[in-house]
């Protein structure tokens, strides 16, 4: 039997509250800048949570025609802009490629919430006949993978994974498998989410999931800190282009990192609470390490799920300690959500992108707002400043409502 093919990352693109260019986002994360501020998208004065990581002054016209902007929900606009940047970054000449070997596998948690809420208002106010003919293509969760394939003519595997906050990590794992097992040579993967909407924020407020630190927006997302009180909603898209290694080498592509392992499990416990012993998370990490054939000693960084909720951060810490034992105390762990907020279905994608950049740059960003130690969260969370470190392999954890756990393993390409 022919072994699994190696897979590398040759293109990155993102649209976030800290910028729309990967280098700019990276610099902002290293400088511990926050993308979180008061909600301006709608009047949030009646909400218990009034802050979010909104993308301000987003201009989709750089990548999308006016006609298409009208046809797309905001989450799809983010996805198309990020995909455009990532595909440009690969320096492919698509007209010369066999596009039947190019797939698009993306993750999204909630789909076109802006459209659902807008058209629901139209229906209530003006009746069913006034609902837009574009409502379904705008709101359907698979709009993002479909629109990217249509725009670039990509004819390979094309679908969406939906597992709440681990959706796009799940997508990246499936993209990895798709190339490893020769179903595709290149996969545009990642995810998008845009749910800073009245109904969605209200739902998360009611579930008591969001931070209420409204007076200090930039200090509200504080993963692993004792004073954490919930997550802060973010939005955006991150796209990674995965490519078969030999092919990338042959064309002299810029290779950011290798993606080596994927572990995916379920808690089978509760629809929102993580299982108290973290078994699902532990198994996801162990499966990913085994899949990658990477020893625990080779893991030099963990980009945590780190939501800033009481339960997640405690149980994620516990899971890391269970897997790595004493070594856990020597592995730096940081949370991208401390600065961007929680991108839900796109969180796994932006965090995979950040983990990839960490390997490429041999630097790791800090966890913003980590100030007060919690006895139950006692690892090295990279407080205060970014670091330069020797980084062989790194993990990116993603856990979702419903008990969906994903771990991805990324390594320096030089590491065999």
């Amino acid at each position: 039997m022919i072994g699994k093919r190696r897979v590398v990352i040759t293109g990155l693109g993102a649209v976030t509250s800290l910028g729309v260019e990967v280098e700019e986002i990276w610099k902002n994360l290293l400088a511990q800048k926050s993308g979180i501020s008061n909600i301006t998208r709608f009047d949030a004065s009646a909400y218990s949570a009034q802050i979010a990581g909104e993308i301000k002054n987003f201009d989709p016209s750089c990548s999308i025609s006016k006609k298409d902007i009208y046809r797309l929900d905001l989450f799809s606009q983010y996805a198309l802009c990020a995909a455009d940047k990532a595909i440009q970054d690969t320096q492919f000449s698509l007209e010369k490629e066999d596009l039947t070997r190019f797939g698009v596998i993306l993750g999204c948690g909630m789909g076109g919430m802006n459209e659902i809420e807008a058209q629901s208002d139209v229906m209530k106010q003006k009746g069913p006949k006034r609902v837009s003919a574009f409502s379904v293509p705008r709101l359907m969760i698979n709009a993002i993978s479909a629109e990217i394939s249509i725009k670039y003519g990509l004819l390979g595997p094309n679908f969406i994974t939906a597992s709440a906050c681990s959706s796009s990590a799940q997508a990246i794992g499936q993209a990895l498998r798709s190339i490893q097992y020769n179903e595709a040579d290149v996969v545009v993967t990642g995810g998008a989410e845009a749910v800073i909407t009245p109904l969605s924020i209200a739902g998360f407020c009611s579930a008591r999931a969001l931070s209420q630190r409204n007076q200090e927006p930039q200090r509200a997302s504080r993963p692993f800190d004792k004073e954490r009180d919930g997550f802060v909603m973010g939005e955006g898209s991150a796209i990674l282009v995965l490519e078969e290694w030999e092919r990338a080498k042959a064309r002299g592509a810029k290779i950011y990192a290798e993606i080596k392992g994927f572990g995916s499990t379920a808690d089978a416990y509760h629809i929102t609470q993580p299982s108290p012993e973290g078994q699902g998370a532990i198994r996801a990490i162990e499966l990913a390490l085994k899949d990658a054939q990477v020893s625990k000693e080779d893991v030099h960084y963990i980009n945590a799920h780190g939501t800033s909720t009481l339960q997640n951060d405690k149980i994620e810490t516990y899971a890391i300690k269970k897997v790595f034992q004493d070594q856990a105390y020597h592995i730096p762990v940081s949370s991208t959500k401390s600065m961007l907020g929680h991108l839900l279905g796109a969180a796994g994608a932006i965090e995979a992108l950040v983990t990839t950049m960490s390997i490429f740059k041999q630097q790791i960003h800090s966890t913003a707002n980590y100030e007060n130690p919690d006895p139950e969260c006692d690892l090295d969370y990279v407080a205060k400043n970014a670091r330069e470190i020797k980084l062989g392999c790194a993990l990116s954890n993603s856990f979702g409502f419903g008990g969906h756990n994903v771990c991805l393993v990324f390594c320096d390409i030089e590491k065999k």
Partner: protein, 85 residues
């Protein structure tokens, strides 16, 4: 409503939905040939016209509206008709 006002409103609707600048639209502009409008786009334009002008437009009538001028003619005739009533 004056014919000029109907024209202006239809240009606004078409420009919003298709993204073509208003000054590039004329009464002779055709939806399918000139603006490459697909069936969903045409349905959306017709629905917006129904909403703005407070009239019903049947699918058969919509089929006959090949150009912006056709739409203006038809809607003006309907508005005159409703005034007479």
């Amino acid at each position: 409503m004056e014919r000029k006002e109907v024209e202006e409103k239809i240009y606004n609707i078409v420009s919003e939905i298709i993204g073509t600048p208003k000054d590039e639209l004329t009464l002779k502009t055709t939806f399918i040939h000139d603006l490459c409008a697909d069936s969903l786009t045409i349905v959306d334009i017709v629905s917006k016209c129904e909403d703005v002008f407070q009239i019903n437009i049947s699918d058969e009538q919509a089929e006959n509206m090949k150009s912006i001028g056709d739409a203006v003619d038809y809607i003006c005739s309907r508005l005159v008709g409703s005034k007479k009533k």
